[in-house]
């Protein structure tokens, strides 16, 4: 589902954010991506999102080589991926409902269908009764769950999360992780970048570890065994 083949990303300053990174993530897998800050976690996610292009190497998503995705096709590519951000990136001048509805409005759904799907997504993250609230009136954990609802409302095949538990206490973090596992169980491929090693090592999923841009462990997944 997500495949990196000897991917290198060098920024203008001559600093290599990723060096010869190769791995494969199968469909239905939940994989953690860890490493110190600056190890290349965000860069890796940015390459999947096409917010950046690799300097060398190939990234393949859902069977499609991203080097063949032109600038105009980027929005369609992003619509196939749900993303959860560390700082939520909610729009604070709109209600929870409108925030979650945004991907569906962009994808061009009928407003009845939008209402149905948004409520289903909010129900899954346990925020249905807050649909008319403004994001600022919610707690950090609740805001993050709004972000998760927005990421899954379009029923993407892939869900990415960048430090989704960054600012949450351990209990809330575990709760958020359980949500990701639930989505994974219904067939969504999930990749979570997190430096919370204590939390993720408890969860028994594959862990990709980056150090100074190199992948130092976790490259061989269950896919290699086949």
């Amino acid at each position: 589902m997500i495949s990196f083949d000897r991917v290198t990303k060098r920024y203008e300053a001559g600093h290599d954010a990723l060096r010869e990174v190769s791995f494969d993530i199968e469909k239905d897998e939940l994989v953690f991506l860890t490493g110190h800050s600056g190890a290349g976690k965000s860069t890796l996610l940015r390459l999947i999102m096409l917010m950046d292009r690799p300097t060398r190497g190939q990234v393949t998503i859902d069977g499609r080589n991203l080097s063949s995705v032109g600038k105009r096709a980027i929005p369609a590519h992003r619509r196939g991926i749900g993303v959860v951000f560390q700082n939520h990136r909610l729009l604070f001048d709109r209600t929870v409902f409108d925030n979650v509805a945004l991907p569906l409005i962009i994808a061009g759904y009928d407003h009845r269908e939008i209402g149905r799907r948004v409520r289903a997504a909010l129900d899954k993250v346990g925020l249905l009764r807050h649909e008319h609230a403004m994001p600022l009136s919610l707690s950090g954990g609740e805001q993050q769950r709004v972000g998760i609802a927005r990421a899954v409302v379009g029923r993407p095949n892939i869900l990415l999360a960048d430090e989704p538990t960054g600012n949450l206490d351990p209990e809330l973090s575990a709760e958020i992780m359980r949500l990701f596992e639930a989505f994974n169980q219904v067939g969504v491929t999930v990749l979570i970048a997190s430096h919370d090693l204590v939390l993720i090592s408890r969860l028994h999923h594959r862990i990709l570890t980056l150090k100074d841009g190199r992948l130092i462990s976790g490259a061989s997944g269950p896919g290699d065994a086949l």
Binding site: K27, M51, P75, F85, R89, D110, N157
Partner: protein, 327 residues
């Protein structure tokens, strides 16, 4: 893997099926409606700032439009004197009425003459005493000092050379004292009008450019203040067209409001001037009155404003929106 195959076919089918295309078209229309309403609400949310923007655009548009309306009125006023110019053929004092009438017929028969009116000296004197207010003086005259006059209107297609040829031929005719054709002032007026038109056009082009730039700047500020929203829209897969739409509508609303303001300003100015113009025209024995913009004129201004608003928004969006990319 079956799930993925299902999803793939569903997605592949989505781009092909006609019903889905119709849904997409409906959704597209819906987003346009949503953007239009949202942008209008945002414009109205800050009434003072919006009103100022509308006024600035309104004044910038009202200036050339007002000048143009004034020019059109002057043109309409002078239309009565426009070419073909009339020539006054003064006959010698000893020409009798019968001879004068014969000359009228003779001139009328010419191909380069449209029509000839014979104004006898008595009729001329009567008209003079009636219009000039010197009736007493005229009555005290022993004899009529005025000559008979033939008012000759040249054929409308006649060139300037043709007119002077006609004039010379009539002047050398026996019994004609003088042919008067004062076209110099008419020419001056026409040149002044051309100058005025060019001036209005130049001012108009500059102010329209100014309006586009003002709107572009206003939209640029709107884009800056909604930067985070644009980033999020792009992150969750919104196309550039999607991100741009609300700003184009904002530009449209500013432009339409500005056009309406311009229409109101010009109409108010004309209403303010109408009374004195009527009085002045009355003094010149004319029933002339100002021609306003009319409903169509105001509508045209609103449309022009809307188009300029869109143009300004395009300018800002093309320059600033593409640079906002998720980091």
């Amino acid at each position: 893997m079956t799930g993925s195959a299902d999803k793939a076919t569903r997605r592949g089918g989505a781009s092909l099926s006609r019903a889905d295309l119709r849904d997409r078209y409906k959704a597209w229309l819906q987003h346009h409606r949503l953007c239009a309403a949202d942008s209008l609400a945002k414009v109205l949310e800050a009434p003072v700032a919006s009103l100022l923007t509308w006024l600035v655009i309104g004044i910038a548009l009202a200036l050339p439009v007002g000048l143009n309306v004034a020019l059109e009125n002057v043109q309409r006023l002078s239309e009565g004197w426009d070419s073909p110019a009339q020539m006054s053929v003064f006959l010698q004092q000893d020409v009798s009425v019968e001879q004068g009438d014969r000359m009228r017929e003779e001139f009328s028969a010419r191909a380069d003459v449209d029509k000839v009116i014979f104004l006898s000296r008595d009729a001329a004197l009567a008209e003079f005493s009636r219009l000039s207010g010197f009736a007493d003086v005229v009555a005290s005259l022993e004899s009529n000092p005025l000559p008979d006059v033939l008012l000759v209107t040249p054929a409308s297609a006649l060139s300037e050379v043709g007119i002077s040829t006609l004039r010379e031929e009539m002047a050398t005719r026996e019994g004609v004292a003088e042919v008067v054709l004062d076209m110099a002032w008419l020419k001056r007026l026409q040149h002044l009008m051309t100058l005025g038109q060019r001036f209005v056009l130049a001012v108009g082009v500059m102010l329209i450019l100014g309006v586009v730039l003002i709107l572009g700047n206003t939209i640029r500020l709107a884009i800056e203040s909604r930067r985070e929203e644009i980033v999020v829209v792009k992150l969750v897969g919104g196309s550039s067209a999607f991100a741009r739409r609300p700003f184009l509508y904002t530009g449209l609303w500013y432009g339409v409001g500005g056009g309406l303001a311009a229409g109101l300003l010009v109409s108010a100015a004309l209403w303010y001037l109408d009374e004195p113009v009527r009085v002045l025209a009355g003094l010149y024995e004319s029933s002339f009155s100002l021609l306003g913009l009319g409903l169509m004129g105001v509508l045209n201004l609103v449309i022009l404003g809307g188009v300029l608003g869109l143009a300004g928004a395009w300018l800002a969006v093309a320059r600033h929106l593409v640079r906002i990319e998720p980091r």
